[in-house]
Amino acid sequence: MKKLLILGAGTAGTMVANRLSHLLDDGWKITLVDRSETHYYQPGFLFIPFGIYGKRDVVKPRRDFIPPGVELILSPIEAIEPERNRVRLAGDGSPLDYDFLVIATGAHIRPDQTPGLTEHEWRRSIHDFYTLEGALALAQHLRAWPGGRLVVNVVDNPIKCPVAPLEFLMLADWFFRERGMRDRVELIYATPLSGAFTKPIASKLLGTMLDEKGIRVVPDFMIERVEPDAKKIISYDEQEVAYDLLVSIPLNMGDEAIARSGMGDALNYVPVDKHTFVSPKYPNVFALGDAAALPASKAGSTAHFAVECFAENFVHYADGLEMPHKFDGHANCFIESGFGKALLIDFNYDVEPLPGRYPLPGVGPFTLLEESEMNHWGKLMFRWMYWHILLKGKPLPLPALMSMAGKHRLN
């Protein structure tokens, strides 16, 4: 019996288990390991601070998504021993052997990496929305917040769902307007990048959007520390931004078990081939989803398209055959812009987001790089698709590789 071991039962790991349990024959045993029994719909966290979603909208038991015949072990991971083809779990249990290993341990926020962030003001005047607890605490805080200066700060890239900070600000603009207090709220976006939009065509088409919504951008802001009593964030080159409410997107890092195994880069992400996800060092080890060090977006859609390519490749690879597909970095995401509208972007390693229609060229129904109500409904509908189609590895009528059809380049 051949053994496939998958570490992490999040978006990528669960999809891999589902796809491969269909594609592999009875000669295989698939085992999944995760530290907790709850699956989170992470894209939904964004809506919680504004009261659009509650806890029940974003959690389900992991077991609901594990196919029959796949074993789920609930335990933290101590370390991977790739030279010995085995994984040690926390505690004294015997190690898990594997023939092939898929690392899908994700990325997590690390507020402990920025001085001052998690001291006495954490979850008081300093919040996050990348965890369920953080999003719920922020929702509670915003309900009674009298207004003032709200600063959203990205500590460093890459982050999960790279557009979420912008969406948060645009939803905040809408939220405070609805509550009749927008004039008492200042919205500021402090980013380590050179602007809110950095790709040429998106900048051209969306550059004025934040101005129009009264959101001020502080570019090239690389945070060094927070001074929680003085309520200001300070950059490495001594710029200061004062806040009344700080919404931080802390440094994102891969799992500590990756560091303990000596398999990660500076941020604990696992280096793999960007087209096939195979480790250059260990030919029976793959990394998928946010855990992988890829020049692609850390997003559920990337994981989905990647798993589609990977699963079919794996069946060939395990038989010693050449892998038929090369992943192109395809990702797409809805960007909530407030007032019941959203944008949609679709891109890959080489092609930046372009305007047009998706998925049917000329028809849509979704508009690329342009606000529409249909995009907003698409985003809300997506939660249902995630639970019922994507996680279960059922086919979605969208090609895994990016298509240029329906897109147009600007001159």
């Binding site: 380590p192 990048l193 939009f197 950095t198 040429p200 690389m222 080159d237 500076a266 960007k274």
Partner: protein, 104 residues
């Protein structure tokens, strides 16, 4: 997309003056761009960073500041002293690599 002549060599650059092809880069070009970025002289410390970034670029894209500090052992504070205001972007420009970008 335009071309420009930097220290006698014709290269392709984008609207912000970043080289489009890392292969067209030379050390002489680095010295010239550094001057435009307000760095009068490239010290051995500067070169250490530039060379590390060129060796560790993925897809022609420069590493992030955190990767640079971890990889070279040069602290973030020192990076800001060497390449003031946005060191990651400045190094990318001088090293002939793509600037750090988001997805939009």
């Amino acid at each position: 997309m335009t071309t420009r002549v930097i220290s006698g060599k014709t290269v392709q650059v984008n609207e912000e003056g970043f080289l489009l092809s890392p292969d067209e880069w030379t050390k002489e070009i680095a010295v010239e761009i550094a001057k435009e970025e307000g760095i009068a002289e490239l010290t051995p410390e500067h070169w250490k960073v530039i060379e590390w970034c060129r060796q560790n670029a993925v897809n022609g894209r420069s590493p992030t500041l955190r990767q640079i500090t971890a990889g070279t052992g040069i602290s973030t504070k020192e990076m800001f002293a060497l390449f003031p205001k946005g060191p990651a972007k400045k190094v990318a420009h001088i090293a002939g690599l793509g600037k750090p970008e988001g997805c939009v």
